[in-house]
């Protein structure tokens, strides 16, 4: 137990087991970004997976929407301490995108329009754990929240769910992305409270 502040009682949790340590519930959907919001139209959007051998798999918006769509509901946890429970998304499972991809790599770097990057181990993207999401609560994803499409990796802190995602690069070795180079944890498990280095 840390330093106790006798006069502090805090707001009691409504859903104890669903909230990782240090997190609080929010009903709204705050934004965490490092710069201006990129405005990308579906017409110019494309998504690529680049393997460690340099092979590129490519989908445009139309091809992406023609893939199997999943509707999923997950809790999300931002490193700035807010959590939002039961958020609903529509998108394409990373498993679906990887059906035709040959790779022995264990690590990935997600790349976004606007230059953002974040690293995620491949195991954390496969097995029904991650999606490229393009709808939130039944509506097209707004630019401020990462539209046209964002990575969704709900079991890690939300900065790993790269907004405006445009590709995954497969890597033999783990490398830090944008926030990871700026003091944030390489893996980012909310249940272990891996916020910072």
């Amino acid at each position: 137990m840390g330093i106790v502040s006798p006069g502090f009682f805090g707001r009691r949790r409504r859903d104890d087991p669903a909230l990782p340590p240090g997190q609080y519930l929010t009903e709204s959907f705050p934004v965490l970004s490092a710069g201006p919001t990129p405005r990308i139209t579906p017409q110019e959007w494309e998504f690529t997976i680049t393997t460690e051998t340099g092979q590129v798999h490519r989908w445009n918006w139309e091809q992406f929407l023609a893939l199997k769509q999943d509707d999923v509901t997950h809790d999300i946890h931002c490193v700035t301490s807010w959590s939002k429970l039961g958020t609903s998304w529509r998108g394409v499972s990373i498993d679906t995108l990887f059906e035709s991809v040959e790779s022995d790599a264990e690590f990935t770097m997600a790349h976004s329009y606007g230059g953002y990057t974040t690293n995620v181990p491949l195991d954390d993207l496969l097995g029904g754990k991650a999606w490229i999401a393009h709808q939130f609560d039944g509506e097209d994803l707004e630019p401020a929240h990462g539209g046209p499409a964002r990575l969704l990796v709900p079991h890690l802190y939300f900065w790993k769910s790269a907004k405006w995602v445009r590709g995954l690069e497969l890597l033999q070795q783990d490398e830090p992305g944008f926030w990871e180079s700026n003091g944030y944890h390489m893996y980012g498990d909310p249940w272990q409270e891996q916020r910072y280095w």
């Binding site: 805090g10 929010t26 705050p30 490092a34 931002c78 807010w82 401020a144 910072y196």
Partner: protein, 238 residues
Amino acid sequence: MRQETDTARTLRLRLPGLTGHRPGQHVDVRLTAPDGYTAVRSYSVASALPGDELELTVEELSDGEVSPYLVHQVAAGDQLEVRGPVGGWFVWNPADPAPVQLIAGGSGVVPLMAMIRSHAAGATDGAPGFAAPFRLLYSVRSPASAYYGAELDDLARSPLLTVTCVYTREAPAGSGTRPRRLDAPTLLDAIPPVSDTPAFFVCGATAFVETVADWLVQAGYPADRIKTERYGGTGITP
């Protein structure tokens, strides 16, 4: 501790082992209740102090959980659990010779004040950033809700700092100006031209930051020279 406004208080903390901090960084404060319940919030550092001390300015949020305790209850001599300072992105780097334009919405002025203080304190340092002009555009509800008023007036006597305030609800008495919200023409009037290649730091509530950053990009300022920090976990329309 100093009261900044009716709803904001500045706390000075001593962090054993700290050797200075970079302007723009934040700390995480974790409060633990007697029954073990904990809550963590991030607060920007307002100061540019050497050594093992730093200051936070905390605004009390009406639906806040941690901020009311820090604004009203914590007392001099109390211990707090603090992590940091952290952050390497929303940070002013004195090695960058570019002129700096700071844009604050409300309590978003806090990390920008750390940059202003750092810039003012280092004037005799050789790094090129200390010789670059700083500008602050501060959008705030009223003179009474502005932080650091007297200190900003004092610092703005330097030719290297220009402060422009936009009052959104209540203008200073006798100023002859009407309160108004920041709009794109006012913003573009108050900042250096694109050709000066200024470095921007924009901090405030999400809607404010989104709007201002969009105006800047639309006006031709390169997106990679605009660093943003959005405040407010709750009470903001998503």
